[in-house]
Assembly symmetry: C2
Homo-oligomer: 127 residues x 2
Amino acid sequence: MTRTPGKGAKLKPQVRVLLDEEIALGPGKADLLEAIAHTGSISAAGKKLGMSYRRTWLLVDTMNRCFKQPLVETSTGGSRGGGARLTPLGSEVLTEYRTLQAEVAAASQAGFLRLKKHLRAKPLEAQ
Amino acid sequence: MTRTPGKGAKLKPQVRVLLDEEIALGPGKADLLEAIAHTGSISAAGKKLGMSYRRTWLLVDTMNRCFKQPLVETSTGGSRGGGARLTPLGSEVLTEYRTLQAEVAAASQAGFLRLKKHLRAKPLEAQ
């Protein structure tokens, strides 16, 4: 058994961009954009992330309604199996969000180390 | 009607410190520490934040089990109405977490501005 402070500690920074009441972009939507870019399909991307088609489509719709131009475009006749891809703006926004995540992760390292030294190696058992 | 890009946009950065499977500290727990410091009572702090006593107590217990020393101590005979306060470590951890939040907020500003210029002033209506 180790006594290293904060041995099992991890920092989980999360950045959401809100537009009025909507979440325009966050970790889940960014992962979805990435999955659409990789799979070329909204349904395949949703499946990859373990989401229902309805939920997947709602996330895409929210992003498309929040940005000046759609981030995702579907090919004509786009039924469930239809193709989808990121627009140029979609690719740009995804890159910018990943950069933002990296900047936040870097900026939080020092503070995390300060907190970590006060943590146990692992939590005490709940009673 | 304005066309200012991202007029209604806000960034919501959130930092959680995990220890194994537990959330040792996050925005809700930090607010709870602050409320306990202000009210001098776990139940009053929970009420202030709209949480059940049970949930409030569980959050306190999780923090106390994750850190090397408890962050919150209750006065002897501590029934529901009993007094509570932050330990010196509790105050220190709260301050460090607020600093971390501020650092993350500062570090995310530039990236937020990059994203914001791609946003509408407000979302299109869902169809």
